[in-house]
């Protein structure tokens, strides 16, 4: 194990040796200025929006879902027509305080029911699927600092791919440090200095960037002292790591967290109820933590899923892949309420709701009015959506 001084020495070398890096990595991070952070939460598998924000006054909803509809008596009422799934109760305080927003009926043109095609569309912000880079990768390029956005988890999602680099994935902040056996620092540095091309050059760059990123996190993360108790779930522990990174002030502008398992083809109630409980429990602890640390003014959360489910339940008390769905956002910087109108459940397209709001309009609001970036350059067009930033 290397000691701290050796480690810093090694890191310093890594920081200095930026020649041969892609342009945006080598540029000074002059635009990284802002202090605001956007936390993006992905609900993987296609969360059923109709059982999340429930049209409890609509008979068509109950007619289409005799087995899996949320009974009216269980709904957490938010408007005369809509209510939240009961498992989302931990988020009710945010709603009551006017800091929780629901974006109704969000989708994109020519919806795709493939998880992967649809996820790629949300990640690249490109319904034609021509782009390979992710929208958050492009934020990092714009800001000029590859560490300004990170994924919490083992695998880097496409949203965080940049043209020549993928942004950091941090599985656990505590393990995010290099421990080389004694005496190996100098030979390791020399080995990295050998000229390479192709994938070998890519791996060299990735290793150098890792050395830099880990040093930066470990230097700063000690500043954090937990302000809330988190539930004992992987999702919640990732959110706690997000709070630690934010408290460390290492320049993170976007943090990405995923919760999987929403592909509820059979026995949906039990599965989705549990997942939404995990979601709400983690998110409310995160918000409480930020508030106690005095960081809540600078952080908002925005959540999405790649698609919703069919309006009608299938024969296995589940739902098959559908089209549009709801998005959510919360934080002191968010204008609470329901943004947009609910889907018409009696005017469907192939059994699915017809979306009315383009998700890129929702992204655009976060980009321009929260992160203060040029959304047009990142999204490849001008999109207007609900004004959900306060």
């Amino acid at each position: 194990m290397t000691n701290r001084r050796d480690f810093l020495k090694l890191s310093a070398l890594a920081v200095a040796a930026t020649s041969g890096m892609p342009g945006f990595l080598a540029r000074a991070a002059t635009q990284a200025g802002g202090t605001k952070t956007l936390v993006v939460v992905q609900l993987t598998g296609g969360n059923d929006g109709l059982n999340t924000l429930i049209p409890y006054s609509n008979g068509a909803y109950y007619a289409a879902r005799p087995n899996i509809a949320i009974p009216k008596k269980d709904v957490l009422t938010v408007t005369p027509d809509l209510g939240m799934h009961p498992a989302l109760r931990p988020l009710m305080k945010l709603w009551d305080d006017g800091h929780l927003a629901w974006m109704e009926n969000v989708g994109y043109p020519n919806p795709n029911r493939s998880h992967f095609a649809s996820m790629a569309i949300w990640h690249t912000a490109d319904p034609t699927q021509a782009e390979a880079d992710g929208w958050i990768g492009r934020i990092a390029e714009k800001i000029g600092d590859p560490f300004c956005a990170s994924n919490l988890g083992a695998a880097t999602p496409q949203a965080l791919q940049a043209s020549e680099f993928s942004l950091p994935s941090i599985d656990s902040v505590d393990n995010f440090q290099l421990k080389l056996p004694g005496g190996m620092n100098t030979p390791f540095e020399s080995l990295l200095n050998s000229p390479r091309s192709g994938e070998a050059a890519y791996l060299t760059r990735a290793t150098r960037q890792m050395l830099k990123n880990t040093a930066r996190v470990q230097e700063n993360v000690k500043k954090y002292k937990a302000g809330a108790t988190y539930p004992d779930t992987k999702f919640a522990s990732q959110l706690r790591d997000a709070a630690r990174l934010i408290a460390a002030g290492v320049g993170q502008r976007v943090i990405y967290v995923s919760l999987g398992g929403f592909d509820t083809h059979a026995g949906q109630r039990a599965e989705q109820d549990g997942l939404l409980g995990t979601l709400a429990g983690g998110l409310s602890a995160f918000q409480a933590d930020l508030e106690r640390q005095g960081l809540a003014r600078d952080v908002i959360v925005m959540g999405f899923s790649e698609f919703g489910r069919r309006v009608a339940e299938n024969g296995s008390a589940g739902t098959d892949h559908g089209k549009g769905s709801v998005m959510f956002a919360f934080g002191q910087g968010v204008k609470g309420g329901v943004h947009g109108s609910s889907p018409d459940l009696e005017d469907l397209s192939e059994g699915d709701i017809k979306y009315r709001q383009d998700f890129r309009g929702v992204y655009a609001e976060a980009l321009t009015r929260w992160l203060n970036l040029d959304a047009r350059g990142i999204l490849g067009g001008t999109f207007t959506g609900p004004r959900w930033i306060a």
Binding site: S114, S169, D171, S194, E199, A200, N213, H265, N314
Partner: protein
């Protein structure tokens, strides 16, 4: 146009390359044994595997006290076979197919179903009939459970398997309509399994059942063909599409040639696939003896399992105790590859997606554990640079040559050259 065969006898670097791709890696001695041979003979010999397994496997999933423990033992058993088994190419293919016909153990949670599934992948590793292989997959309790076809009944369709059959297992996106998905689901109604359901029955053997009373025997139209189609018809029609030849060939190129395959080379394999009606053995024999294969050096980033197993095989298969092997299987998971449990039904994307700060850190820790840690296996002869890097004069050769055995091995294992195959 079939792929052009390699005409030269194998050089040392050719042989190292072949064994990195087909056996996860090898010792200097194993590499030298192939030098001077003909590429076709080498490919045929490697593909002539039987179903024999490594002796002395310390793991038996049926001994698991709980479903979770049993599945963990199953992963240990597979890692043991990968690292010590007599047929690494069979295992490499089973790993490749497990990333094509994806299931996930957290949903299946039945040990005999998972064991049977892995053995099905091994039996068809270099299948003579992709149609037969796909049919057996479609009727395996593991897949029936994973993609919910056991819930697919007349009048109550569940589209999950029908969709993925087209999107991920055969034609790929763009070669079918939503209507084909729906009609396919109708044709597949009634295929289910008996036994082994629930946490308490995790050691009970489930069996495929065809339930005629649950089958929708009405007329369907699927990929342009109409009739009272049954599940077998759907599998036959989907697997015989020209798009399937290209889509699955591309996956084989991803596994054996490059993270970003060359379209013309893929087409060469697809042509052979079409001509032989999905004879994967024929496609592989041609592929693994081709100029294109030998020209594609260092174009695959090793997956976590390939990294681990490659390390063990390159070190000459030193004995690693059972507990450490189980830990390694768990570490592969933290590096993004839990055996038989990709994050999604699409499987692992691989390539650059294997690499990020956390996974690089873990690779370094594993390399240290295998070479320099207190429990590191004792090596009489450290691996040669050719065995470690696939090159006789790799980047940093001077530096590496100046280091002593363990340090040189450690540093090589964390070098970009070792990470690539």
């Amino acid at each position: 146009m079939p792929l052009t065969p390699l005409s030269r006898p194998l050089t040392a670097e050719d042989a190292a390359h072949f064994l990195r791709r087909t056996a996860f890696g090898a010792t200097d001695e194993q590499i030298r044994a192939l030098v001077g041979q003909k590429a076709q003979d080498v490919a045929r010999a490697a593909l002539a595997f039987d179903q024999s397994v490594a002796p002395g496997n310390p793991f038996d999933p049926m001994q698991g006290a709980t479903p979770g423990a049993a599945l963990q033992l199953g992963r240990g058993a597979w890692l043991y076979e990968l690292a010590y088994g007599p047929h690494p190419l069979r295992e490499k293919l089973a790993l490749t197919w497990s990333n094509h016909f994806v299931i996930a153990t957290d949903k299946v949670r039945n040990v005999p179903a998972v064991v049977d599934y892995l053995n099905l992948l091994r039996r068809h590793a270099a299948t003579r009939s992709f149609e037969r292989f796909t049919l057996e997959v479609a009727q395996s309790p593991a897949m029936l459970r994973y993609l919910d076809n056991d819930q697919n009944r007349k009048g109550k369709p569940n589209e999950n398997f029908s969709r993925e059959l087209l999107e991920l297992f055969t034609t790929g996106i763009g070669h079918y309509t939503e209507n084909d998905v729906r009609e396919g689901a109708r044709a597949l109604t009634g295929w289910s399994y008996q036994g082994g359901r629930g946490n308490k029955q995790y050691l009970e053997q489930p069996r495929f059942v065809n339930q005629p009373q649950q089958h929708d025997d009405g007329k369907k139209t699927y990929l342009g063909q109409s009739g009272a189609l049954k599940g077998e018809d759907i599998v036959r029609i989907a697997t015989s599409q020209p798009a399937t030849a290209t889509f699955v060939s591309r996956k084989l190129h991803r596994a054996f040639l490059a993270d970003t395959p060359d379209d013309a080379a893929v087409q060469g394999s697809a042509d052979t696939w079409t001509r032989t009606k999905g004879d994967v053995m024929a496609v592989l024999t041609e592929l693994l003896a081709s100029e294109a294969f030998y020209a594609s050096r260092s174009r695959i980033i090793r997956s976590p399992i390939e990294f681990l197993v490659g390390g063990i095989r390159t070190l000459g298969q030193p004995k690693i105790d059972a507990r450490s092997l189980l830990n390694l299987a768990g570490t592969a998971g933290r590096m993004g590859q839990v055996l038989l449990e990709p994050d999604t039904v699409k499987g692992w994307d691989g390539g650059r997606e294997w690499i990020n700060d956390t996974t690089l850190l873990l690779r370094m820790q594993v390399a240290a554990a295998l070479t320099m840690g207190s429990k590191a296996p004792n090596l009489d002869t450290p691996p040669s640079l050719l065995a470690l890097t696939g090159q006789e004069r790799p980047a940093g050769a001077v530096l590496l040559s100046s280091l002593k055995g363990r340090q040189r091995t450690y540093l090589s294992l964390i070098s970009p050259e070792f990470q690539l195959a």
